[in-house]
């Protein structure tokens, strides 16, 4: 079993030795049959960095972040999380997943468990934390996403925004070093999107390493260190948000921004 406490942080000791990136992707390719879903992706994310990935549907942005926690298997190239390369070894996959929290478009809360149960199941079964401590942890995160009063309810009794915040709390209960967001607000009504974005902004301000697939450009402007634009399985453009929005270099990026920013 990999010792997870030895997962290296970004230059923690100030040694000047280049530490491993939070996520390092080199020469990544993925095919679905004959369809080339990801094309020569290179991406290095350092600890604490906030990345927003956007692009038209089918551009491979979801596939890319799903490769990072192995919900999708990549065909070529390498993905390393905290310096540990992802392989087919199930133990390696589990060790990587323990470091990564994921938030889905459709929340994917377990409908037969209360919100509290949803939050404690992984800490108890993966990290072997005792129930009392796991519940205390869960309640603190539910308070942080501002739904402490929903702990004993079932997902079906919550609004979409509350469900998504519960899902964020569930992921945080595993104390991940990296959070992946796969279109977290796309299934939500416009008036509810803000409460989820506020939660994500608070998380970003706490220094969480984040990769967010989203079309919320206001969010990107506010918290992203880099915005990545993808199209047809390739990274077309990467820039700091100020440059990305004011001065996009690629024609395809400009077309995309014209379509979504009116």
């Amino acid at each position: 079993m990999t010792n997870l406490d030895e997962f290296p942080r970004e230059d923690e000791a100030g040694t000047g030795i280049k530490p491993p990136a939070a996520v390092e992707i080199i020469g990544l390719n993925k095919w679905y049959g004959a369809y080339h879903a990801l094309h020569d992706i290179d991406l290095r994310v350092v600890t604490g960095e906030r990345i927003v990935i956007c692009g038209p549907s089918g551009s491979g942005k979801s596939t890319l972040i799903r490769c990072i926690n192995r919900l999708e298997r990549h065909d070529q190239g390498s993905i390393s999380v905290g310096g540990l390369e992802l392989t087919d070894d199930p133990k390696r996959v589990q060790a990587t997943r323990r470091e990564i929290g994921m938030v889905f478009q459709n929340f994917n809360l377990f409908p037969h468990m209360t919100i509290l149960e949803n939050c404690v199941v992984a800490p108890m079964s993966v990290k072997k934390i005792a129930r009392a401590q796991a519940e205390e942890l869960a309640r603190s995160f539910l308070a942080r996403v501002r739904i402490p009063e929903q702990a004993k309810k079932y997902p079906g009794q919550l609004s979409g925004g509350q469900q998504q915040r519960a899902a964020i709390a569930r992921a945080l209960c595993m104390s991940p070093r990296i959070m992946l967001f796969d279109e977290p607000t796309s299934a939500l009504d416009p008036e509810i999107i803000k409460e989820v974005l506020d939660t994500m902004i608070a998380l970003a301000n706490d220094g969480m390493t984040m990769l967010c697939v989203t079309h919320e450009m206001g969010f990107a402007r506010q918290i992203a260190d880099r915005v990545i634009f993808m199209d047809h399985g390739r990274i077309v453009e990467t820039a700091a948000p100020a440059n990305f929005f004011a001065n996009p270099q690629q024609v395809r990026t400009r077309q995309f921004l014209n379509q979504i920013l009116r």
């Binding site: 926690n69 192995r70 919900l71 589990q94 997943r97 323990r98 990564i100 929290g101 994921m102 889905f104 459709n106 994917n108 809360l109 377990f110 409908p111 037969h112 468990m113 199941v121 992984a122 079964s125 993966v126 079932y154 079906g156 009794q157 569930r170 992921a171 595993m174």
Partner: protein, 219 residues
Amino acid sequence: MFDMSFFLTLLPRFIWGAAVTLGVSLAGFTLGTVIALGLLLLARSRIALARWIVAIYTSFIRGTPLLVQILVIYYALPGLTGIELSPLVAGVLSLSFNSAAFIAENLRAGLFSIPSGQFEAASALALPRHIVALKVILPQLVRNIIPPMASEFTILVKASAILSVISVVELTRTAQHVMMETFRPTEAFCTAALIYFLILFTFSVFTKRLEHKPSGAPR
């Protein structure tokens, strides 16, 4: 006319018959579920032969009458293999083999209707496989399959009447005995019908409740 005193004096025998009917149905359903789980595993196997066996088994069960399946197991099996079974055992086995094919399909459909996001969320949380199976998938599967499993059990209770042909003294056979002893077919078969109806009606009311509130969780 329907003779009430006749009905009352023979009621204990009918109740015993009903108990046998319920017993063989329950045994058939339980064993059928166990076999169905095996069929489901084989059907998802990587070995083509295993999947073939399941396909042939299922189409054979669906493509032949239950009565013939019972007669094969009770009369033809001893001739073919030398294994002789008592009527009760042969009857329960027939019901099990028959219901297994249908229960396997219910299980498959129930599993299929769980959204893939549930499996993905469990994977993303790094949950161990046994926790995923027991705590995430099984409770949702059970909730999904209550209605089709209840209807399969109802079918089985009614189908168990056919066991009377191999002299299992369940409810229908009891009615036949009573008729032959008393020459009162009206009372004998009406009583049997009434008891079947009461059992299944009670059962359907019970499962409707279960559907509305499975394991305390709202939908």
